[in-house]
Symmetry: C2
Subunit: 374 residues, 2 copies
């Protein structure tokens, strides 16, 4: 009765764990894909001001001009080549990914996705009747243009890059991004660069090659407010791409999202004015260091360079069995690697929680893995 | 390069007019699909309270429990047969329609839509690779089960009902809805009943047959907050349907909308507590009467029974030519029937504006049609 496409679309393993958390007692939740800090008070005040000032109606499909202008200025400062018409405001980065996939994909198309992946990439590919093609980057999680090259066929329509990456925290080398974009251009393939975690950085290097913005012809760059400003429930993101793609986005958005929530678009301007909390990466680096210090004796973990996840490897046994073993009263919630991969060897741990919770969580995890191995 | 589906998806004729309005001087805008009144202060205060109280993170995919419980209670009071598990909170009714179409449709399927239609129905059908089949209800705009019956084929997957209807304001007779649902059940076809305008009513009769809720097996009922509470930019709606459909909605929402904007879900509870403004239909009936009284001598207009649109017929000439003729500085904006139909005979006028504006708008329209006919 239902569309056959949906048989391939799975319930999110991350959300499944998230929905279970409420049912358990005294459980430490390390599944969360959202920062633990509160939204800056000035941004919240601005959202309330917009609501009280009647900014509650539909906006233009591509977002309010004020927000687009602010984004334009910011990108210029960051060295991007950009016109106001290259910008499109979306309902979160998920909204942006959905619009992109829906614009580009049709039955028979292939989408190249690194594995482990953020499961939305895979499932939206299926939802668009296309086929995901995985580039296995276990165990080092290093993506190179050469690895991508091997997977390109005449059916490849899109390559998805996520840097820093969910669930590994790895960054794709700038030079490799340039190579991938060049390679794709030759093959008439689009590249999505999903930068949602770009403001959580633990290494001191530029991660985005601004020179690629000189030509948007096969490029869709996605950024969001959700993680950077801790407003995941406000559904606000944006895209920078060429005008032909934006024309298609406009059509699709008119019949789906209509527009990003109006008051939060105004609050988004304030968020950009205030800018990223300069202490955020330092604070999150401490969290990352806590995890690495406590868990490294027990698990093999690639040191995250960004985002707020790590992806420890099980010393032995199945990660999904272990996640189940951990998910009990007085336990700990993690997401097994099967939510990001065909491999059941690793699990994702989010360190976006307060340090005491994180330390206790890691200690519980150590007790659990010790018991699990017996 | 782009998905072939998109070639059939048109830019919304309504939004096109909406986007033009800002560019003209002293223009009276009668294109608006949103009420003219402000959101109730208590509801706005509740939204701000939610923001300040940190209700800014992802919610459960199907919406916060408090809102679903409140909706459940309300529907029970209205005589619906319903479980809490029949409810799903969406990002506006457009979000609900998108989820429904995406769940049900695949290539080759047919969707029965009344013509004139709300253009989202047609365009989302194309976006899902399916084919719209139109039931022409010109010139009286009365939909019956018999008219639907003629269009059913082995490929029909879905019938979409909108009552009160955009753009005509017509209500589908309760008994006809029952017949259509029964007929569809026999043919294994789903029925969407889109009730977004149900709180704008100008006739004294029940419009929804609650008895059909005894069996949700082929039923998707869609309602929204946007129009009733004037919060179009808040993106909040909901669906009542069977649990199998909701399971599919959950999967799709996880990769697209994620959840309706969190603070507005809390404000939605307050909106339901306060209930529909008891004067609203009376105030809108006055607006409707203004239009009917002023314009009836010049246009043939079916008296709207609900919603806040009327759909006058051109005495002569093309409606899209007339709309262009009206859209000048010091003019008036209306939406030509081609945005709702293959026929260029009528235009949509929204009376969701203050009475003075509306009177002036109608007067301008009379001047314009007089000049246009010369």
């Amino acid at each position: 009765m239902f569309s056959k496409r949906l048989e391939f679309v799975e319930e999110s393993g991350i959300r499944k764990m998230f929905n279970q958390v409420g049912e358990l007692k005294d459980v430490i939740d390390l599944t969360l894909g959202q920062p633990d800090f509160k939204i800056n008070d000035e941004i919240k005040a601005e959202a309330c001001r917009a609501i009280l000032n009647e900014k509650n109606r539909y906006t233009a499909t591509n977002g309010i001009l004020g927000l687009r202008e602010m984004l334009y200025e910011k990108k210029k400062q960051e060295g991007w080549t950009i016109d106001l018409e290259n910008l499109f405001v979306t309902s979160g980065t998920s909204g942006a990914i959905f619009l992109s996939f829906n614009t580009l994909l049709e039955q028979g198309d292939e989408v190249i996705i690194t594995e482990p992946y953020y499961n939305e990439y895979k499932n939206l590919t299926y939802l668009c009747d296309a086929k995901p093609v995985f580039v296995n980057i276990y165990p080092e999680f290093t993506l190179t243009a050469d690895k991508i090259k091997d997977k390109i066929t005449s059916k490849t329509k899109l390559i998805v890059l996520n840097s820093p990456a969910n669930p590994t925290g790895k960054i794709i080398n700038k030079e490799e991004i340039i190579k991938i974009v060049e390679l794709s251009k030759k093959h008439n393939i689009y590249v999505i660069v999903d930068l949602i975690y770009k403001d959580f950085l633990y290494i001191d290097k530029e991660i985005f090659p601004t020179e690629i913005t000189e030509d948007y012809s096969n490029l869709i760059i996605i950024e969001g407010f959700s993680k950077t400003f801790s407003m995941t429930g406000w559904r606000l993101g944006y895209v920078v791409t060429n005008k032909n793609v934006i024309q298609q986005f406009t059509k699709i958005q008119q019949y789906t999202f209509l527009c990003a929530p109006s008051p939060f678009q105004y609050a988004g301007i304030k968020a950009l004015e205030i800018g990223v909390n300069p202490n955020m990466s330092q604070e999150y680096m401490e969290k990352k260091n806590i995890v690495m210090e406590l868990l490294s004796p027990y698990f093999q973990i690639t040191d995250p360079e960004g985002a707020f996840y790590c992806f420890p490897k099980m010393p032995i046994g199945s990660a999904s069995e272990f996640a189940k073993f951990c998910a009990t009263d007085g336990g700990i919630m993690i997401v097994p690697g099967t939510a990001f991969s065909q491999y059941d060897t690793n699990f994702r741990l989010s360190f976006a929680t307060d340090n005491i919770n994180l330390i206790n969580g890691c200690k519980r995890l150590i007790r659990k893995i010790t018991a699990f191995q017996k």
